[in-house]
Subunit: 250 residues, 6 copies
């Protein structure tokens, strides 16, 4: 099997690839608390693992994963690391511009952290204005609104949002370090006011995770299983791979 | 009736208000194309009009509306004006900081333009980190996920997103300049590729409005009516006013 | 009468205008204390009102007024809002660049707040360097050194500088909310040192308004009248309109 | 005579000075064309020379002169150097903050270049907001509105503005390199339009010097004399020294 | 053996660690050409591998490696990625600040890329000014002026600087992907002028690697061996571990 | 002898020079403590004096010296002034860009302060990326690794680094204000920990000068002499002049 990682190639090998292909996957994650049972690099790990699987199916290259993301709302939990919005956009833009300089014309940002989405959205916009190039982004975690939607519907019993049934299942299958016995449902601290509860959905504030969950999870990770993860990962990898095949033809 | 607009008061009057109340509404809109039938200031107009109605019901003050927003995706249509993300966040932050300096401790950003949401979200986060103050934001347009959800369900027949049945109904009732005879359903230009159509939802790109709609509308504004607008506006104003009353007690 | 406000047009209407005309007026004001008798939006209000009158005489369009300006020196009075110099220049530049993008080649910044002048000056310079385009700016308030100089000489009895006889007369005529009975001459607080008084003119410092005037006025607004305002407004509108007619021919 | 230049002292000598005195003069100039007869460093030279004379009379110290200023409007003439507005403000602020750190509580910016005024004004404001310290600035060139006004009235026959009768007289006396035989009245190029001429005063644009003067002078330097310069310099030095003596007592 | 990677722990585990220890290693590398025989991630790989070995000996934690560095001089070779100086300093500062927030008081930047040194130096300075905290940095590659100096002297026959005998030996031992048969001595292209050659050392310019080496190497990687690498790695790991033990006692 | 200083010429004289020559020297120094015996402007003074001597030998022009540099590590001593890294790079870039605009294609930064090197290095890089122009920089102080290496070896008995035997000798000859009787060897304060001493060389931190030297000197200035300075200055001027002659031919 061919080496899927751009960063494990020598420069002449990258040069050879560019003669035939202009696609590159750029995985983006975060280093932040993922409940009492998942490692802090969970999003960076997943972004890279899914990207690798897609690359192996499609023959495209994967750039290094950006391990730090936008995580100010997780800073109440030890070990979380955050970049500012401005710095994160700068990193994304400069990595993409470097790739474009060598001739990668179709860059796909493979994102595993919801908190990065605004920064990625701003990156896509600025790169389009400045270079005229369309950059693509997608979520590597399956979701009901993205790739893997059908598998999510068939497999996942509970909703959540962070270090939950879905996310835990996916990384159990991908081989992440998981302390399953520590997994704990996300319940809000007693201090969460009725006022904030009442207007969730209608009113936005800069809410921190430690204000809304004691364990760090949102959802119920105790329902996760490796088998659920297998179904989800296979679905999402297949669907993203199909997109990459279509993208080759554009 | 008391003057609801902070900007129509003298400084001693503002000083008097601050002795008893610490809430202020800050309306944010945009100046951008709104189809062939709505004025370019539609979002700024709506943000100010809804804010005024809420203020009249609750006795709080309304700051000047910020007329320019984040609209790079509308620049393909004449008359649209856009600020950069960075500049818009700076404006929002500096207006809020000015208000805080005088003693307004509860600021509610009354937003009418979806495109501003990321900048507002970043503003709320930065203000919380820098000042410890929670700033609130909400959408003044009724939507199925925010204030006025029930009314939307009962009143609006079609989905859309921009200069559509919902938005047009609301501003017909609010007294905006509307060229109803020019209203036109949003249809994509022939040039929109099957590829982009296929992955809408799963894959994000920095898409411009002129790439996806000929008239500038997304949805069907021809179904709009003033009566629908009345129901929507009354619902959204009542619900936001109830939130403001709750906020007074926090 | 034709609609003078760009922001009340639809995009096809703006497109039509641009086929025949490349002038647009961009009013800039502030939200800041204006003594005990004038509303905080006095400069934004005036910028828009004068622009509208000039537009009606000349058939050109008026962009939305920028309601926030450079007012750090007024922050000692409740309700004043200020942007930083850097942010204000960014807003002015980005609005002008948006207008240029659609084909407005002759932009006239219609400013009503002296405190904005340095930011406007820097804007004009940067836009010239970056785009090669000459942008124009003028003061909408009549002054002895600008438009309306003759009318000022004939009408105004006292000098001032802020919320004074001249400014109050102008807005009385324009229909601003004025609490005439609250108008109060500007007198410095007892705390103003002889030292600072002595070197006014020769030595500059970052002086705040609350350090030099108790009421917030500089000058004597009690001498203002609507009739004085009428003469001033008519003069300044006529003279600016003449400039616009000349500009059309360039 | 004591060494007036801070930069010619050792650090223990500066330490000694600070035990008794907290005033420092910070000269600011520019490097830009000054007509066909004056050296490019004319403003930097004058700022330093006047500062030195004031320092010698009052016993205060002089910081190094900042030789580069805001001169984009002179870039049409060889040898002119300009900083951006933003960079210049940063330099001024960082020099003042460094001086404050050592205990200089009364900083007087001794400016010789009109083009720097906006940047200095912004510097004074930002330093006041950030540190609470009042920084002073004044023009070292005599003018009808500043120090030396009486001497200007009695000595100078023509008005101007740049490399003119006044400026040339001052530097003839101060010992600048002057090519008197090359001095040339400032006349506009044939290309200057009647339109721009007509609205000078009422309308601002970012005008470049090469658009309005062929020689680079504004005014008539041929009327300059060393004797006029002597009167002007003596007046301005005496008056600024009196201000410094007053400042010591604050 | 305990998990050395902070990013493979859960947040409660990081919290436990912080009760007893305040040291964290932050590895910084780059993604850039490393001759015809080494992978592009060579510096990121080495930074992480050496950090891991030091951590295993000393029981401290390792943060995620920053895979992108300052590499504009390598952009002439396919696959190289560079951040700007400003962005890189921002990333380093924000990661360190995040770690400090959780209680890591002794941060050691473990750098493997010479090109990052200026950015790290600026980071250390800014963090000291802003937080009062001393951050440490060191090179993980052995060098004659740093850790491992004795081993370098005893083991390495040729000098170089990039993808050379030393660097290749180290990563052969660490298990990097190495295409030994492609290793090629660094020779300058024929186009390198005698002028630039002559003043190397005395005169600095922004020289690019493709201007001075055809293969991308500086030095002679053909002399590298795994055994040399073993000696170097063991020496450098031991010496850095001794430093960490000393640091624990400070 | 021709005037070597660009800033003492009129603009027509600079224009004449540019018809035949495209080289300009840009001296960069600092204002910072230089031990108990040297003036604070020592680096600015030296940069200008060496540049002048080189210019006189080669007929090229010298721009004004930038008197402020990067000196945060000297701020513990009265009179030191520092710019931030970012501001200093901006100044260097903008001065170079101004010079380029007039046709100076070969700019040589003549630096006298080691602390400026990182900022200069970043300046050279950014100017190359943005303009394609190679800018040169060199140290005007002789050193064992730069110009004057042989003379250093033959003349200087002790090593140092700041306000030492070498630096003091050079400026004694150049005519700087030197309080020779105050010269004092650099010894560290009692407070310097063994830990920091031990890892100097291997580990970097943001160390301040007042943490490592009581007098402000590093090295032994008591061994300095004017005669040593003469040999050093003559050597370094000759060698730099030879480089400039070579540069003319490129």
């Amino acid at each position: 099997m061919k080496e899927p990682f751009l960063f494990k190639l020598t420069w002449p090998e990258v040069g050879e690839y560019l003669k035939k292909n202009e696609i590159v996957l750029f995985p983006t994650g975060s280093t932040e608390q993922h409940g009492k049972h998942l490692a802090e690099d969970n999003d960076a790990f997943t972004a890279l693992e899914i990207s690798k699987r897609v690359a192996e199916k499609t023959g495209v290259l994967v750039a290094p994963v950006m391990p730090f993301g936008y995580s100010p709302h997780h800073m109440g939990f030890p070990g979380s690391i955050t970049l500012s919005f401005e710095t994160l956009v700068a990193v994304y833009k400069e990595v993409c511009r470097s790739l474009m300089k060598h001739g990668f014309k179709k860059i796909v940002i493979m994102n595993a952290h919801g908190g990065n989405q605004n920064a990625i959205s701003e990156t896509l916009r600025q790169l389009k204005e400045e270079t005229g190039t369309t950059v693509y982004s997608l979520m590597v975690f399956p979701s009901s609104r993205g790739f893997g939607a059908k598998a999510v519907k068939e497999t996942i019993e509970t909703s959540g949002g962070h270090a939950d049934e879905l996310e835990t299942s996916v990384v159990l299958y991908l081989g992440q370090r998981v302390l399953s016995e520590k997994a704990e449902k996300g319940v809000p601290p007693a201090s969460l006011s009725d006022f904030l509860r009442k207007y969730t959905g209608e009113v936005s504030t800069a809410r921190d995770f430690h204000e809304i969950t004691v364990s760090g999870s949102l959802g119920d990770p105790t329902l996760a299983s490796k088998e659920k993860g297998r179904k989800l990962v296979e679905a999402v990898v297949d669907e993203i791979a199909a997109f990459i095949e279509d993208l080759k033809k554009q």
